[in-house]
């Protein structure tokens, strides 16, 4: 194989030399987009197609593995054939691919410094769902929930608001990265929380008169029997300065647990009073804890910069469906001088991944918002410097093997979010992330849609947009009952 590559490269060089006389060797990496220079990728990912950022006339790319290689040419972008790519990755479960980029620019051939793609046998969950929406302010137009097969470029629409009266749709989340356990909220006249349990869809009205709002941010219990949610009264404010955009905060926020079997909602007084704001609750992997963000009351919006959320934890008894009566603080916002949001526990129970911003509770419009990782066994925190960028990095989710996480990053322009995947090796070290590969490399340059809440799953969800259309137009959503004390299970 190596002989073939040498012959090919020799041929290329011969051809190039014939035309221009010589090849310039550049010691710089090629200016490719997306930035796939020296990234770690799973063995089951689709080809990492890319384009050259500067204008070139011809492009020759060699992807050389330990056993096989692929050669691709193009004008200014490359599309690696899917079959050849899969064969290359399958040739060895763990290998380093060397990518050599040769371009013809103003009649001159330039060979850039080769870079590597480290292929790890730790595969990533093969399906990714996300919401596609234009990054607006208060008004929305078209919204779609989409499921992408990560091993190919296939996409499937899970929900489309064109079929549901234009209503707003929130993001789609899984329980245990299991496609048979997922949910999302649809707002509007016929809306509700659409819960998928083993393919059976239910539309639940998660609000009672005792609650301040419908369920907002939520997470499944590992058993799939419960969901923990925050209820939030959300206020948007528009910044006037520079390129700052919106500040979104809660004027009230509580925490509830919903039993999907009995449709009973429970809470605790300390989680539903007006002295503090609770948000982004998640269950621990063992299901015995609820992690959530909490901030003390401050007058808003005047004291918005003092609004800082801690990470707290309270116990949960899955047998009786009861919440503990007190909470611990795991991450003190005052001491850390930041504000936490979007908690996500790793499926192996070892880590807690979250977003830290300077203040507030809506990190997607905070450029400084970065991901951070807490080792729940040691309490150590990792600022994930290899992962974060200068723009907002948030809305993350784990792969079921806890070796990969996906997150939405607004890197590049600060407005449009894209899914990035980061590898966490066996030592807990995070590697440089890479953007979701696209068939057409110009997709990210041209799209006016932003990717929200990318979530990984092990399989395809058992419904599509038509099922959601049907359930949306059903007149009634199933009601829930609220109780603040210990609930009785109802058959």
């Amino acid at each position: 194989m190596r002989i073939h590559i040498l012959i090919y490269l020799f041929g290329v060089l011969f051809y190039a030399c014939n035309e221009t006389g010589y090849v310039t060797i550049s010691h710089a990496y090629p200016p490719i987009y997306p930035d796939y220079i020296d990234v770690t990728i799973p063995a089951n990912i689709a080809p990492l197609n890319f384009l050259m950022r500067d204008s070139v006339e011809k492009l020759l790319v060699t992807i050389e593995g330990e056993k096989e290689s692929i050669r691709v040419k193009g004008k200014n972008k490359v599309q690696v054939p899917l079959k050849k790519w899969k064969a290359l990755l399958a040739s060895r479960p763990e290998q380093t691919l060397t990518v050599t980029v040769l371009v013809k620019k103003k009649g001159e051939w330039i060979q850039y410094k080769p870079f590597n793609w480290h292929v790890t046998p730790d595969s990533i969950d093969p399906f990714l769902s996300y919401r596609l929406i234009e990054p607006g302010y208060e008004v929305w137009n078209s919204i779609q929930l989409v499921e992408r097969h990560l091993e190919t470029f296939d996409e499937r629409v899970l929900a489309d608001n064109n079929l549901t009266g234009g209503s707003c749709m929130n993001c789609h989340i899984y329980g245990n990265q299991d496609a048979a356990l997922s949910m999302f909220h649809i707002r509007g006249e016929h809306g509700g929380t659409i819960v998928n349990r083993n393919g059976k869809l239910e539309k639940i009205n998660t609000r009672t008169k005792d609650m301040i709002s419908n369920a907002v941010y939520g997470n499944f219990h590992p058993t799939g029997r419960y969901g923990v949610f925050s209820t939030n009264v959300v206020i948007p404010e528009l910044h006037t300065y520079g390129s700052k955009r919106l500040e979104v905060y809660d004027s009230a926020a509580d925490l509830v647990v919903l039993n999907f079997d009995t449709r009973e909602v429970i809470s605790q007084p300390f989680l539903s009073d007006s002295t503090s704001y609770e948000s982004f609750p998640v269950f621990s992997a063992c299901g015995k804890w609820i992690y959530y963000c909490s901030a003390g009351y401050v007058p808003l919006p005047d004291s918005i910069r003092s609004l800082k959320y801690h990470i707290c934890r309270t116990s949960f008894d899955p047998k009786n469906g009861t919440i503990g009566a007190s909470a611990d603080t795991l991450w003190n916002a005052r001491e850390m001088n930041g504000s936490v949001s979007h908690l996500k526990t790793s499926p192996n129970g070892k880590y807690l991944l979250y977003t830290v911003a300077d203040y507030g509770t809506f990190p997607i419009w905070h450029r400084e918002a970065d991901l951070q990782l807490m080792d729940l066994e040691t309490g150590e925190m990792d600022k994930l410097e290899a992962v974060n960028d200068t723009c907002s990095d948030s809305y993350h989710s784990w792969s079921s093997n806890s070796r990969w996480f996906v997150f939405a990053s607004k890197r590049d322009d600060g407005i449009y979010g894209k899914p990035y995947f980061a590898y966490l090796d066996s030592t807990g070290k995070a590697h440089k992330p890479f953007a979701l590969p696209q068939l057409d490399q110009e997709y990210y340059d041209n799209t006016l849609k932003s990717f929200n809440i990318p979530e990984l799953s092990k399989g395809q969800v058992p419904y599509d947009a038509r099922d959601i259309e049907q359930i949306y137009w059903k007149p009634e959503a199933l009601p829930v009952r609220y109780t603040e004390s210990e609930p009785k299970l109802v058959e």
Binding site: E237, L238, T240, A465, R466
Partner: protein, 598 residues
Amino acid sequence: MKEKRHNASMLITGAFFTALLLYWGLVYPEHLVQKEQMQLFLLSPTYLKEHLIIQGGLVRYLGEFLTQFFLYKWVAAAIVSGILLSLFTATNRVLRKLFGKPHTLLAVIPAVGYHFLLLDDYYYLAGALALSLTTWAVSEIIGIREPKRRLKTTLLTIPFIYWMLGGTYLVFILSVSLAEWILFFKDDSRKMNKQQIVWAIPTLLIVGGIIPLIARNYVILDTLLQSYLSHSYYKFSFILPSPLIWVFLALPLVILLQWAFQSFYPGKSHPVFRYAVTTVLLITIGFGLYYVPDFKEEKEMKYDNLVCRQQWEQIVELARQEPPVGEQGKLALTLALGQTGRLNSQLFQFNPGLHDFFIAYQVQGMAPLMAQEPYFYLGLTNFSQMLCIETIESTPDAAHPVRAMKRYAENCLINGQYDVAARYLRYLRQTLFYRNWANHAMQYLHNDDKILSHPLWGKLKTYRVKDDFYFQFDQPETMLVALLRSNLKNQMAYEFLISRSLLQMDFDEFLKYLPLASQMNYSELPLTYQEALAYVETLLPEIPENLAHYSISEPVRSRLTAYAQTFRQGGHKEPQLMQKLYGDTYWYYVHFRGNDEN
């Protein structure tokens, strides 16, 4: 005789086209111009492909292609008139092929119907094009003499029309079915036999009913309604507007009417009958022309379109001839006065109001394109940017209005968000008429110095606020003060602030900000401020030292004296007289309009 008939037909055709052309060119052009602003037609293969993969996509593509030329009102008028004329000609042809010499005026009904639809901003040009092409298709089908071939061609044409033109395939099926029925009963040589007609018409109807269901199940992801209709006719996809149904039914109805008339008068119809039909039709059309157009909206759009083209002088001139009455026209005038340096001297010539400076922001409904204009020119870039996106997002058809895209890109350039600006400029580069502008704007990317040297963007970049605060829609004074705190050269912000204090008759505020007039490079204290100051002086027992140095010209003082004299001598009871003599002064506003306004 034949030549005479041909000449008469040409005359009618010519008169119809001329009437339409004059109507759209002179009476109602602004709606057409606005249609161009509300779309983003891209000359790219991807854009064409995106249209070809949906039902009715081709005609929408063609409609958008033609609508891009609506930038020029006479071209717009000619295109619309041409399409409606084509519809009229095709209808006439259908009637002629079915009945021989038809009553020509009946053939105008579908075209006039679509004319009325196009007066409404929510109907696309594509619909008229689709109906016209469908009517031509009906005419061609009827022309096929051999029944079996005719039926086969019809069956093959149905899916083609459905996919290319959308819901007008139903018009095609209805019209062809009706034509077959009429031919059968007329004992025409083209007629089907009894057996053929018995199964042909149900087959056509069943095929028509099934095709969208198949498409919806296997090809498209759309609502049931739009699977039949397509998104090519009306901007709101969740509604089937009844006027559209009636216009679509017009062709089969016209065929039916002609059949009824000919059955009633098998030979040449009685002149009285012909005149009666003509009169009824003309009265109906006249009634429609009076009631259907929204001339108030047309006037608003005229102002809005002038703002879009930054034709400030024309706005002031127009306001002198036809004072604006709607909120957009009034805002346009305020902006024009500000942009031409007249806000400080001529505002009170135009019966101003406190609401003429901004359009209230509402989350419900579509944010008008005009709403972001004052924020843009004041230097409140973020808010202009937000309203551009709100306009885009609230557009009922999820189109990306080119005007909002362009303005958003400008805001991003001013704000230094170059990567986002580039994304929008790349879209504009794919258009026919904004390509050069976008290419030029591309040269400003990542170059702050170049932006600062731009006559408009440079100025607005220096106007941006330097303090961060949350925008309060109901407290414009706060943001105007913030703008001035950031840049004292922001003359429009200053004049908005002073004008609003004068309109509210808040003299404390007026006097508080009056000293800043010295920062504005005025050659003398502007006329309105002199009038206000002269009035304030009459309220004070003596003129304080800090006001004494303001120079009030002799003509202003003399006019105030004359005003006071007239007012005291009974003028206070004769507002019309006072308006005639002093309607352009601040004093008249204070005494006769201010209290109502506040």
